[in-house]
Symmetry: C2
Subunit: 141 residues, 2 copies
Amino acid sequence: MVRPVETFLKYLDSKHLKLTRERKAVLEEVFFHPGHLEAEELTHTLRSKKSRVSRATIYRTLELLVDSGIVRKIDLGHGHSHYEHILGHTHHDHLVCLKCGKVIEFTDKKIERLQTNICQKSRFQEISHTVQIFGYCKDCR
Amino acid sequence: MVRPVETFLKYLDSKHLKLTRERKAVLEEVFFHPGHLEAEELTHTLRSKKSRVSRATIYRTLELLVDSGIVRKIDLGHGHSHYEHILGHTHHDHLVCLKCGKVIEFTDKKIERLQTNICQKSRFQEISHTVQIFGYCKDCR
DNA sequence: GATATAATTGAGACTGAATCTCATTCTCAA
DNA sequence: TTGAGAATGAGATTCAGTCTCAATTATATC
Ligand SMILES: [Mn+2]
Ligand SMILES: [Mn+2]
Ligand SMILES: [Zn+2]
Ligand SMILES: [Zn+2]
């Protein structure tokens, strides 16, 4: 079992940052939300619960969560960012339905290996990658 | 030899749209520019030449060029779109250097095939895809 | 527990890309 | 040549995301 709060705390300590009520609220919401969430949505969800966290702090905290490796920022082609927790989850990429917006996750070790090969050929040091396939899902095609 | 103007004309006709001086200027500039260009850059380049085309028309025309399959809109993680001509060019994907911004193009038939397989498994109809690898190029690592 | 210090927060101003509005101008088929 | 519909440009608008700064809070030390 992975403990996101402890991971975050460790990260914060290493940067001499503090674990505030607001940061804890964002972390918990992001971590226990199952899918791909957006900042605006997060603002509303938190407001409807006990916590009231400003937009500025939401964005600031999401950045910290990305830096600490707990969360990944992704672009699903909606004109704004989405976030998903990755701590304790295996890496995956996305099929994105252009009609209903559904996102299907997939993992393909062979593709990953071929990407590594490509980087080696160009002596390129990979930090991250995205494989996004846009189209129509089986219900929308 | 591919003739972008004719392709564009055919597309415009099919939609009952007109080939204006402005649209021709944007098409030519995009098509003869070798790399990945941004809308703002295009505005300036055209202004420094004979043609003066408004921002609104630049964006409107780029959309038409994308629709007609002449140009591809890509996201290199800069917070705004880039465009590259694809008519007469083979499909490729990108390595993006996070330090110097260099973009290295690559083509990998095996990755493409694996992507097709993944779509089949989910009965997903692919329209487009992007494989972007972010990291540091050999000069920046 | 009190105190000091540095970090954090929120309200709202600001930015930059992209889109929209609408009065004027242009294209092209007839 | 002309008319109907399409296109343009200036500038207003939108929207996500960032920044500013005065007020607040977390934590280490006493
Ligand atoms: Mn996902
Ligand atoms: Mn390219
Ligand atoms: Zn769908
Ligand atoms: Zn580089």
